[in-house]
Homo-oligomer: 233 residues x 2
DNA sequence: CTAAGTAAGTTGTACTGTACAACTAAGTGC
DNA sequence: GCACTTAGTTGTACAGTACAACTTACTTAG
Protein backbone atom coordinates (compact mmCIF):
# COMPACT_ATOMS: atom_id res chain seq x y z
CA UNK A 1 0.00 0.00 0.00
CA UNK A 2 1.09 3.47 -0.79
CA UNK A 3 2.39 5.06 2.38
CA UNK A 4 0.67 8.46 2.10
CA UNK A 5 3.35 9.88 4.39
CA UNK A 6 4.48 12.52 1.93
CA UNK A 7 3.73 16.14 2.90
CA UNK A 8 0.22 17.35 2.17
CA UNK A 9 -0.71 20.89 1.20
CA UNK A 10 -2.97 22.91 3.45
CA UNK A 11 -6.56 22.90 2.20
CA UNK A 12 -8.83 25.90 2.64
CA UNK A 13 -12.10 27.28 1.31
CA UNK A 14 -12.71 30.98 0.71
CA UNK A 15 -15.93 32.68 -0.26
CA UNK A 16 -16.42 35.92 -2.14
CA UNK A 17 -19.74 37.26 -0.89
CA UNK A 18 -21.37 39.97 -2.98
CA UNK A 19 -24.33 42.15 -2.13
CA UNK A 20 -25.77 45.46 -3.22
CA UNK A 21 -25.52 48.02 -0.40
CA UNK A 22 -26.25 51.71 -0.88
CA UNK A 23 -26.89 50.88 -4.51
CA UNK A 24 -23.31 49.71 -4.96
CA UNK A 25 -21.78 46.27 -5.38
CA UNK A 26 -19.87 45.34 -2.26
CA UNK A 27 -17.90 42.37 -1.00
CA UNK A 28 -17.72 41.03 2.52
CA UNK A 29 -14.30 41.07 4.19
CA UNK A 30 -13.10 39.79 7.54
CA UNK A 31 -10.13 40.89 9.58
CA UNK A 32 -7.30 38.42 10.09
CA UNK A 33 -6.56 37.54 13.72
CA UNK A 34 -3.82 39.57 15.35
CA UNK A 35 -2.16 36.73 17.26
CA UNK A 36 1.60 36.41 16.93
CA UNK A 37 2.50 33.87 14.28
CA UNK A 38 -0.71 34.26 12.31
CA UNK A 39 -0.01 35.19 8.71
CA UNK A 40 -1.10 38.68 7.63
CA UNK A 41 -2.23 39.76 11.11
CA UNK A 42 -5.01 42.37 11.26
CA UNK A 43 -5.27 42.51 7.49
CA UNK A 44 -8.54 42.26 5.62
CA UNK A 45 -9.21 38.97 3.88
CA UNK A 46 -11.97 36.97 2.28
CA UNK A 47 -14.03 34.92 4.70
CA UNK A 48 -12.78 31.37 4.72
CA UNK A 49 -10.47 28.96 6.40
CA UNK A 50 -9.34 25.40 6.70
CA UNK A 51 -11.48 22.49 5.67
CA UNK A 52 -12.51 20.67 8.82
CA UNK A 53 -12.41 17.00 7.91
CA UNK A 54 -14.62 16.18 10.90
CA UNK A 55 -17.40 18.69 10.21
CA UNK A 56 -17.35 19.29 6.46
CA UNK A 57 -18.63 16.43 4.36
CA UNK A 58 -17.58 18.13 1.13
CA UNK A 59 -16.23 21.41 -0.23
CA UNK A 60 -19.61 22.97 -0.84
CA UNK A 61 -20.76 22.17 2.68
CA UNK A 62 -17.62 23.86 3.94
CA UNK A 63 -18.35 26.95 1.86
CA UNK A 64 -21.94 27.04 3.12
CA UNK A 65 -20.72 26.78 6.69
CA UNK A 66 -18.35 29.70 6.26
CA UNK A 67 -21.02 31.72 4.54
CA UNK A 68 -23.46 31.14 7.37
CA UNK A 69 -20.90 31.83 10.06
CA UNK A 70 -20.24 35.28 8.60
CA UNK A 71 -23.61 36.36 7.26
CA UNK A 72 -26.31 34.18 8.78
CA UNK A 73 -27.65 33.79 5.26
CA UNK A 74 -28.80 30.33 4.26
CA UNK A 75 -29.44 29.13 0.74
CA UNK A 76 -28.28 32.03 -1.43
CA UNK A 77 -26.74 31.71 -4.85
CA UNK A 78 -23.45 29.89 -4.49
CA UNK A 79 -21.14 28.92 -7.33
CA UNK A 80 -17.65 27.51 -7.46
CA UNK A 81 -15.17 30.06 -8.73
CA UNK A 82 -11.92 28.15 -9.03
CA UNK A 83 -8.95 27.12 -7.00
CA UNK A 84 -5.66 28.76 -6.20
CA UNK A 85 -2.74 26.72 -4.95
CA UNK A 86 0.98 27.28 -4.79
CA UNK A 87 4.03 26.89 -2.62
CA UNK A 88 4.17 30.54 -1.67
CA UNK A 89 0.66 31.89 -1.28
CA UNK A 90 0.66 31.08 2.43
CA UNK A 91 3.81 31.50 4.55
CA UNK A 92 2.86 28.39 6.50
CA UNK A 93 3.55 26.21 3.46
CA UNK A 94 2.14 24.77 0.23
CA UNK A 95 -1.52 25.62 0.30
CA UNK A 96 -4.54 25.37 -1.98
CA UNK A 97 -7.84 27.16 -1.57
CA UNK A 98 -11.14 26.32 -3.16
CA UNK A 99 -12.89 29.61 -3.89
CA UNK A 100 -16.64 30.11 -4.17
CA UNK A 101 -18.68 33.14 -4.92
CA UNK A 102 -22.04 33.98 -3.54
CA UNK A 103 -24.75 36.52 -4.24
CA UNK A 104 -26.96 37.55 -1.37
CA UNK A 105 -30.23 39.38 -1.65
CA UNK A 106 -31.44 42.76 -0.54
CA UNK A 107 -29.58 44.70 2.06
CA UNK A 108 -28.52 41.88 4.32
CA UNK A 109 -28.16 42.23 8.05
CA UNK A 110 -24.84 40.99 9.30
CA UNK A 111 -24.49 38.91 12.39
CA UNK A 112 -23.87 41.44 15.15
CA UNK A 113 -21.15 39.50 16.90
CA UNK A 114 -17.67 40.75 16.19
CA UNK A 115 -18.97 43.47 13.89
CA UNK A 116 -15.61 45.20 14.05
CA UNK A 117 -13.99 42.21 12.40
CA UNK A 118 -16.45 41.99 9.50
CA UNK A 119 -17.27 44.64 6.97
CA UNK A 120 -18.54 45.40 3.51
CA UNK A 121 -16.22 47.04 1.05
CA UNK A 122 -17.43 48.61 -2.21
CA UNK A 123 -16.05 47.27 -5.47
CA UNK A 124 -14.25 49.95 -7.40
CA UNK A 125 -12.69 48.87 -10.65
CA UNK A 126 -12.04 45.18 -10.26
CA UNK A 127 -11.32 45.09 -6.58
CA UNK A 128 -11.62 46.86 -3.22
CA UNK A 129 -9.64 49.61 -1.56
CA UNK A 130 -7.91 47.77 1.33
CA UNK A 131 -4.94 45.49 0.77
CA UNK A 132 -5.92 41.88 1.20
CA UNK A 133 -4.14 38.94 2.81
CA UNK A 134 -2.72 36.00 0.84
CA UNK A 135 -3.64 36.13 -2.87
CA UNK A 136 -7.15 37.21 -2.00
CA UNK A 137 -6.95 40.20 -4.30
CA UNK A 138 -6.44 37.84 -7.23
CA UNK A 139 -9.38 35.75 -6.12
CA UNK A 140 -11.63 38.75 -5.61
CA UNK A 141 -10.68 40.15 -9.00
CA UNK A 142 -11.46 36.83 -10.63
CA UNK A 143 -14.84 36.83 -8.90
CA UNK A 144 -15.62 40.36 -10.10
CA UNK A 145 -14.61 39.48 -13.64
CA UNK A 146 -16.69 36.31 -13.58
CA UNK A 147 -19.69 38.19 -12.22
CA UNK A 148 -19.38 40.99 -14.78
CA UNK A 149 -18.97 38.50 -17.54
CA UNK A 150 -21.98 36.43 -16.55
CA UNK A 151 -24.16 39.47 -16.02
CA UNK A 152 -23.80 40.08 -19.76
CA UNK A 153 -25.85 37.01 -20.60
CA UNK A 154 -27.50 35.67 -17.44
CA UNK A 155 -30.07 36.63 -14.86
CA UNK A 156 -27.61 36.44 -11.96
CA UNK A 157 -28.38 39.96 -10.65
CA UNK A 158 -31.84 38.73 -9.74
CA UNK A 159 -30.20 36.98 -6.78
CA UNK A 160 -29.00 40.32 -5.46
CA UNK A 161 -32.51 41.77 -5.25
CA UNK A 162 -34.74 41.92 -2.19
CA UNK A 163 -37.87 39.80 -2.18
CA UNK A 164 -39.86 42.42 -4.09
CA UNK A 165 -38.38 44.82 -6.61
CA UNK A 166 -39.25 46.77 -9.74
CA UNK A 167 -37.82 46.35 -13.22
CA UNK A 168 -35.98 49.69 -13.00
CA UNK A 169 -34.46 48.47 -9.71
CA UNK A 170 -33.19 45.37 -11.44
CA UNK A 171 -31.90 47.36 -14.37
CA UNK A 172 -29.96 49.64 -12.02
CA UNK A 173 -28.26 46.62 -10.48
CA UNK A 174 -27.28 45.40 -13.93
CA UNK A 175 -25.95 48.83 -14.78
CA UNK A 176 -24.05 49.16 -11.51
CA UNK A 177 -22.28 45.87 -12.06
CA UNK A 178 -21.58 46.39 -15.74
CA UNK A 179 -20.65 50.03 -15.33
CA UNK A 180 -22.62 51.16 -18.35
CA UNK A 181 -26.23 52.10 -19.11
CA UNK A 182 -28.57 49.62 -20.74
CA UNK A 183 -31.53 50.23 -23.00
CA UNK A 184 -34.75 50.34 -21.04
CA UNK A 185 -37.08 48.76 -23.55
CA UNK A 186 -34.75 45.98 -24.65
CA UNK A 187 -34.00 45.25 -21.01
CA UNK A 188 -37.67 44.96 -20.14
CA UNK A 189 -38.44 42.80 -23.13
CA UNK A 190 -35.61 40.44 -22.30
CA UNK A 191 -36.44 40.11 -18.64
CA UNK A 192 -40.14 39.62 -19.15
CA UNK A 193 -39.54 37.03 -21.87
CA UNK A 194 -37.26 35.07 -19.54
CA UNK A 195 -40.07 33.66 -17.39
CA UNK A 196 -37.92 34.59 -14.43
CA UNK A 197 -40.04 36.99 -12.41
CA UNK A 198 -43.74 37.47 -11.75
CA UNK A 199 -45.66 40.60 -10.81
CA UNK A 200 -47.11 40.91 -7.32
CA UNK A 201 -50.37 42.78 -6.86
CA UNK A 202 -48.63 45.88 -5.61
CA UNK A 203 -46.97 48.99 -6.91
CA UNK A 204 -43.95 50.86 -5.63
CA UNK A 205 -45.19 54.36 -4.71
CA UNK A 206 -42.90 57.32 -5.13
CA UNK A 207 -42.76 60.94 -6.15
CA UNK A 208 -43.70 60.01 -9.71
CA UNK A 209 -45.33 57.24 -11.66
CA UNK A 210 -45.63 54.08 -9.54
CA UNK A 211 -43.70 51.02 -10.69
CA UNK A 212 -44.90 47.44 -10.84
CA UNK A 213 -43.36 45.23 -8.16
CA UNK A 214 -42.10 41.78 -9.09
CA UNK A 215 -40.66 38.81 -7.29
CA UNK A 216 -38.38 36.00 -8.40
CA UNK A 217 -40.30 32.92 -9.44
CA UNK A 218 -39.94 30.07 -7.01
CA UNK A 219 -36.63 28.22 -6.87
CA UNK A 220 -35.64 29.73 -10.17
CA UNK A 221 -32.32 28.65 -11.65
CA UNK A 222 -30.38 31.38 -13.46
CA UNK A 223 -31.49 32.07 -17.02
CA UNK A 224 -28.93 32.15 -19.83
CA UNK A 225 -29.70 34.52 -22.67
CA UNK A 226 -28.70 33.72 -26.23
CA UNK A 227 -27.08 37.12 -26.71
CA UNK A 228 -25.06 39.52 -24.66
CA UNK A 229 -26.32 43.00 -23.95
CA UNK A 230 -25.55 45.84 -26.30
CA UNK A 231 -22.86 45.73 -28.92
CA UNK A 232 -19.63 44.49 -27.27
CA UNK A 233 -17.99 47.39 -29.09
CA UNK B 1 0.93 30.27 16.66
CA UNK B 2 -1.66 28.01 15.27
CA UNK B 3 -0.43 24.47 15.52
CA UNK B 4 -1.43 23.23 12.06
CA UNK B 5 -1.45 19.72 13.45
CA UNK B 6 -5.07 19.03 12.49
CA UNK B 7 -5.59 16.43 9.76
CA UNK B 8 -5.14 17.65 6.19
CA UNK B 9 -7.08 16.39 3.20
CA UNK B 10 -5.23 14.70 0.37
CA UNK B 11 -4.63 17.07 -2.53
CA UNK B 12 -4.62 15.88 -6.11
CA UNK B 13 -4.84 17.27 -9.63
CA UNK B 14 -6.69 15.52 -12.45
CA UNK B 15 -6.78 16.47 -16.11
CA UNK B 16 -9.47 15.75 -18.66
CA UNK B 17 -7.64 15.61 -21.97
CA UNK B 18 -9.75 15.89 -25.10
CA UNK B 19 -8.76 15.28 -28.69
CA UNK B 20 -10.45 14.46 -31.97
CA UNK B 21 -9.49 10.97 -33.11
CA UNK B 22 -11.17 9.19 -36.01
CA UNK B 23 -13.37 12.26 -36.31
CA UNK B 24 -14.77 11.68 -32.83
CA UNK B 25 -14.25 13.49 -29.54
CA UNK B 26 -12.22 11.30 -27.21
CA UNK B 27 -10.80 11.55 -23.72
CA UNK B 28 -7.53 10.16 -22.44
CA UNK B 29 -7.75 7.57 -19.66
CA UNK B 30 -5.10 5.79 -17.64
CA UNK B 31 -5.29 2.48 -15.83
CA UNK B 32 -5.05 2.50 -12.04
CA UNK B 33 -2.14 0.49 -10.61
CA UNK B 34 -3.00 -3.06 -9.60
CA UNK B 35 -0.99 -3.15 -6.37
CA UNK B 36 -2.76 -4.42 -3.27
CA UNK B 37 -4.09 -1.51 -1.24
CA UNK B 38 -4.37 0.86 -4.14
CA UNK B 39 -7.89 2.18 -4.47
CA UNK B 40 -9.82 1.09 -7.58
CA UNK B 41 -7.07 -1.27 -8.84
CA UNK B 42 -6.90 -1.79 -12.61
CA UNK B 43 -9.80 0.57 -13.23
CA UNK B 44 -9.70 3.35 -15.79
CA UNK B 45 -9.29 6.85 -14.41
CA UNK B 46 -8.44 10.36 -15.46
CA UNK B 47 -4.73 11.10 -15.60
CA UNK B 48 -3.69 12.83 -12.42
CA UNK B 49 -2.35 12.30 -8.96
CA UNK B 50 -1.02 13.91 -5.86
CA UNK B 51 0.41 17.37 -5.81
CA UNK B 52 4.14 17.07 -5.22
CA UNK B 53 5.03 19.95 -2.94
CA UNK B 54 8.67 19.62 -3.92
CA UNK B 55 8.25 19.68 -7.68
CA UNK B 56 5.03 21.59 -8.34
CA UNK B 57 5.25 25.30 -7.73
CA UNK B 58 1.52 25.74 -8.25
CA UNK B 59 -1.61 23.86 -9.34
CA UNK B 60 -1.30 24.74 -13.00
CA UNK B 61 2.31 23.58 -13.10
CA UNK B 62 1.17 20.32 -11.58
CA UNK B 63 -1.52 19.93 -14.27
CA UNK B 64 0.99 20.71 -17.01
CA UNK B 65 3.37 18.13 -15.58
CA UNK B 66 0.69 15.43 -15.60
CA UNK B 67 -0.37 16.40 -19.09
CA UNK B 68 3.16 16.13 -20.39
CA UNK B 69 3.84 12.86 -18.61
CA UNK B 70 0.87 11.26 -20.35
CA UNK B 71 0.83 12.92 -23.75
CA UNK B 72 4.16 14.57 -24.36
CA UNK B 73 2.19 17.60 -25.47
CA UNK B 74 3.44 20.98 -24.31
CA UNK B 75 1.50 24.21 -24.37
CA UNK B 76 -1.97 23.15 -25.44
CA UNK B 77 -5.18 24.79 -24.32
CA UNK B 78 -5.54 24.26 -20.58
CA UNK B 79 -8.35 25.60 -18.43
CA UNK B 80 -9.35 25.03 -14.85
CA UNK B 81 -12.56 23.06 -14.61
CA UNK B 82 -13.37 23.02 -10.90
CA UNK B 83 -12.64 21.11 -7.79
CA UNK B 84 -14.19 18.10 -6.15
CA UNK B 85 -13.59 17.35 -2.52
CA UNK B 86 -15.34 15.22 0.05
CA UNK B 87 -14.81 12.78 2.86
CA UNK B 88 -15.75 9.76 0.78
CA UNK B 89 -14.49 10.22 -2.76
CA UNK B 90 -11.25 8.45 -1.93
CA UNK B 91 -11.18 5.45 0.42
CA UNK B 92 -7.86 6.68 1.80
CA UNK B 93 -9.53 9.65 3.43
CA UNK B 94 -10.82 13.19 2.94
CA UNK B 95 -9.55 14.26 -0.44
CA UNK B 96 -9.88 17.17 -2.83
CA UNK B 97 -8.90 17.23 -6.47
CA UNK B 98 -8.32 20.24 -8.67
CA UNK B 99 -9.59 19.34 -12.14
CA UNK B 100 -8.36 20.87 -15.40
CA UNK B 101 -9.41 20.29 -18.94
CA UNK B 102 -7.23 20.40 -21.95
CA UNK B 103 -7.72 20.41 -25.70
CA UNK B 104 -4.97 18.96 -27.81
CA UNK B 105 -4.57 19.42 -31.51
CA UNK B 106 -4.67 17.10 -34.46
CA UNK B 107 -4.31 13.40 -33.98
CA UNK B 108 -1.76 13.36 -31.21
CA UNK B 109 0.84 10.66 -30.83
CA UNK B 110 0.92 9.20 -27.37
CA UNK B 111 4.11 8.49 -25.55
CA UNK B 112 4.87 4.89 -26.38
CA UNK B 113 5.89 3.83 -22.91
CA UNK B 114 3.22 1.88 -21.07
CA UNK B 115 0.83 2.11 -23.95
CA UNK B 116 -1.31 -0.60 -22.40
CA UNK B 117 -1.98 1.63 -19.42
CA UNK B 118 -3.06 4.66 -21.44
CA UNK B 119 -5.85 4.87 -23.96
CA UNK B 120 -8.33 7.09 -25.72
CA UNK B 121 -12.00 6.51 -25.14
CA UNK B 122 -14.73 8.06 -27.32
CA UNK B 123 -17.27 10.33 -25.71
CA UNK B 124 -20.78 8.97 -26.12
CA UNK B 125 -23.52 10.99 -24.52
CA UNK B 126 -21.86 12.84 -21.68
CA UNK B 127 -19.25 10.29 -20.77
CA UNK B 128 -17.28 7.21 -21.80
CA UNK B 129 -18.08 3.52 -21.81
CA UNK B 130 -15.77 2.17 -19.08
CA UNK B 131 -16.50 2.63 -15.41
CA UNK B 132 -14.13 5.15 -13.88
CA UNK B 133 -12.36 5.26 -10.54
CA UNK B 134 -13.21 7.75 -7.77
CA UNK B 135 -15.75 10.37 -8.88
CA UNK B 136 -14.00 10.69 -12.22
CA UNK B 137 -17.23 10.11 -14.12
CA UNK B 138 -18.70 13.22 -12.51
CA UNK B 139 -15.60 15.19 -13.41
CA UNK B 140 -15.55 13.94 -16.98
CA UNK B 141 -19.24 14.71 -17.41
CA UNK B 142 -18.69 18.21 -16.09
CA UNK B 143 -15.86 18.65 -18.57
CA UNK B 144 -18.01 17.47 -21.47
CA UNK B 145 -20.85 19.77 -20.44
CA UNK B 146 -18.46 22.69 -20.09
CA UNK B 147 -16.92 22.00 -23.47
CA UNK B 148 -20.32 21.63 -25.20
CA UNK B 149 -21.53 24.76 -23.54
CA UNK B 150 -18.52 26.82 -24.53
CA UNK B 151 -18.50 25.51 -28.08
CA UNK B 152 -21.86 27.27 -28.50
CA UNK B 153 -20.25 30.68 -28.23
CA UNK B 154 -16.47 30.35 -28.42
CA UNK B 155 -13.73 29.28 -30.80
CA UNK B 156 -12.48 26.50 -28.52
CA UNK B 157 -12.67 23.78 -31.20
CA UNK B 158 -9.89 25.57 -33.05
CA UNK B 159 -7.52 24.13 -30.44
CA UNK B 160 -8.50 20.62 -31.47
CA UNK B 161 -7.42 21.13 -35.07
CA UNK B 162 -4.13 20.14 -36.66
CA UNK B 163 -1.82 22.92 -37.76
CA UNK B 164 -3.61 23.28 -41.10
CA UNK B 165 -7.28 22.63 -41.67
CA UNK B 166 -10.20 23.68 -43.83
CA UNK B 167 -13.35 25.46 -42.76
CA UNK B 168 -15.48 22.35 -43.37
CA UNK B 169 -13.04 20.42 -41.14
CA UNK B 170 -13.57 22.92 -38.38
CA UNK B 171 -17.31 22.87 -38.86
CA UNK B 172 -17.33 19.08 -38.58
CA UNK B 173 -15.56 19.32 -35.24
CA UNK B 174 -18.13 21.81 -34.01
CA UNK B 175 -20.90 19.51 -35.18
CA UNK B 176 -19.32 16.44 -33.62
CA UNK B 177 -19.08 18.09 -30.24
CA UNK B 178 -22.50 19.72 -30.34
CA UNK B 179 -24.20 16.71 -31.84
CA UNK B 180 -26.19 18.72 -34.34
CA UNK B 181 -25.62 20.20 -37.80
CA UNK B 182 -24.75 23.86 -38.21
CA UNK B 183 -25.49 26.20 -41.08
CA UNK B 184 -22.61 26.35 -43.50
CA UNK B 185 -22.83 29.96 -44.55
CA UNK B 186 -23.47 31.39 -41.08
CA UNK B 187 -20.64 29.28 -39.73
CA UNK B 188 -18.21 30.57 -42.34
CA UNK B 189 -19.26 34.16 -41.85
CA UNK B 190 -18.80 33.91 -38.12
CA UNK B 191 -15.43 32.22 -38.25
CA UNK B 192 -14.00 34.53 -40.87
CA UNK B 193 -15.25 37.60 -39.02
CA UNK B 194 -13.56 36.41 -35.83
CA UNK B 195 -10.04 37.25 -36.95
CA UNK B 196 -9.06 33.87 -35.61
CA UNK B 197 -7.63 32.03 -38.60
CA UNK B 198 -5.71 32.96 -41.70
CA UNK B 199 -5.49 31.22 -45.07
CA UNK B 200 -2.29 29.50 -46.10
CA UNK B 201 -1.31 29.46 -49.74
CA UNK B 202 -2.46 25.89 -50.22
CA UNK B 203 -5.58 23.94 -50.99
CA UNK B 204 -6.72 20.59 -49.66
CA UNK B 205 -6.98 18.30 -52.70
CA UNK B 206 -9.61 15.60 -52.81
CA UNK B 207 -12.06 13.79 -55.05
CA UNK B 208 -14.02 17.01 -55.52
CA UNK B 209 -13.63 20.75 -55.23
CA UNK B 210 -10.45 21.65 -53.33
CA UNK B 211 -10.86 23.48 -50.03
CA UNK B 212 -8.87 26.42 -48.75
CA UNK B 213 -6.48 25.54 -45.93
CA UNK B 214 -6.23 27.79 -42.89
CA UNK B 215 -4.13 27.96 -39.77
CA UNK B 216 -4.76 29.44 -36.33
CA UNK B 217 -3.36 32.93 -35.99
CA UNK B 218 -0.36 33.11 -33.76
CA UNK B 219 -0.90 32.74 -30.01
CA UNK B 220 -4.57 33.34 -30.45
CA UNK B 221 -6.71 33.46 -27.31
CA UNK B 222 -10.18 31.96 -27.67
CA UNK B 223 -12.79 34.20 -29.25
CA UNK B 224 -16.14 34.75 -27.56
CA UNK B 225 -19.07 35.31 -29.89
CA UNK B 226 -21.94 37.58 -28.93
CA UNK B 227 -24.54 34.94 -29.80
CA UNK B 228 -24.89 31.21 -29.53
CA UNK B 229 -25.32 29.10 -32.64
CA UNK B 230 -28.76 28.36 -34.00
CA UNK B 231 -31.96 28.82 -32.06
CA UNK B 232 -31.54 27.11 -28.66
CA UNK B 233 -34.87 25.42 -29.49
C1' DC C 1 -56.99 73.41 -10.54
C1' DT C 2 -53.31 73.60 -13.50
C1' DA C 3 -48.69 73.21 -15.15
C1' DA C 4 -44.07 71.59 -14.69
C1' DG C 5 -41.21 67.85 -13.54
C1' DT C 6 -39.88 63.10 -13.27
C1' DA C 7 -39.70 58.36 -13.69
C1' DA C 8 -42.47 54.26 -15.61
C1' DG C 9 -43.71 52.04 -19.35
C1' DT C 10 -44.90 51.65 -24.66
C1' DT C 11 -44.38 51.99 -29.48
C1' DG C 12 -42.18 52.18 -34.03
C1' DT C 13 -38.18 52.04 -37.08
C1' DA C 14 -33.44 50.58 -37.99
C1' DC C 15 -29.82 47.45 -37.72
C1' DT C 16 -26.96 43.18 -36.96
C1' DG C 17 -26.06 38.59 -37.21
C1' DT C 18 -27.91 34.52 -38.16
C1' DA C 19 -31.39 30.90 -40.48
C1' DC C 20 -32.72 29.01 -44.55
C1' DA C 21 -32.45 27.79 -49.18
C1' DA C 22 -31.04 28.10 -53.68
C1' DC C 23 -27.31 28.82 -56.40
C1' DT C 24 -22.43 28.60 -58.60
C1' DA C 25 -17.67 26.54 -58.68
C1' DA C 26 -14.14 23.03 -59.02
C1' DG C 27 -12.64 18.90 -58.71
C1' DT C 28 -13.23 13.27 -59.65
C1' DG C 29 -14.72 9.02 -62.15
C1' DC C 30 -16.99 6.79 -65.82
C1' DG D 1 -19.18 15.15 -71.74
C1' DC D 2 -22.02 14.14 -67.81
C1' DA D 3 -23.18 12.67 -63.25
C1' DC D 4 -21.67 13.18 -58.65
C1' DT D 5 -19.74 15.39 -54.67
C1' DT D 6 -18.14 18.84 -51.74
C1' DA D 7 -16.60 23.95 -51.47
C1' DG D 8 -18.07 28.22 -51.33
C1' DT D 9 -21.51 32.31 -52.46
C1' DT D 10 -25.65 34.86 -52.72
C1' DG D 11 -30.20 36.61 -51.52
C1' DT D 12 -34.26 36.85 -48.60
C1' DA D 13 -36.44 36.22 -44.06
C1' DC D 14 -36.38 36.65 -39.27
C1' DA D 15 -35.33 37.47 -34.26
C1' DG D 16 -33.71 40.23 -30.85
C1' DT D 17 -31.99 44.19 -29.77
C1' DA D 18 -30.55 49.52 -30.37
C1' DC D 19 -32.27 53.87 -30.59
C1' DA D 20 -35.46 57.39 -30.01
C1' DA D 21 -39.77 59.36 -29.52
C1' DC D 22 -43.88 58.94 -27.31
C1' DT D 23 -47.64 58.21 -23.57
C1' DT D 24 -48.84 57.43 -18.68
C1' DA D 25 -49.19 58.38 -13.78
C1' DC D 26 -47.83 60.29 -10.07
C1' DT D 27 -45.89 64.61 -6.97
C1' DT D 28 -45.15 69.29 -6.08
C1' DA D 29 -45.24 74.38 -6.82
C1' DG D 30 -48.05 78.07 -7.75
Amino acid sequence: MESLTFPRPLTTVDVVIFAILDGVLQALLVRRPSEKGEPFPDMWALPGGFVDVERDKDLKACAIRKLREKTGVAGPYLEQLGSWGSSNRDPRGWSATHAYFSLIPGSPVLLEQGAADVGWSPITGNSVAPKLAFDHRDILEAAVRRLRNKVEYTSLPAYLMPSEFTLPDLQHVYETILGRPLEKSAFRTRMLAADLIEPVAKMRKGPNRPAQLYRLKNAKAPVYFARTFNPPR
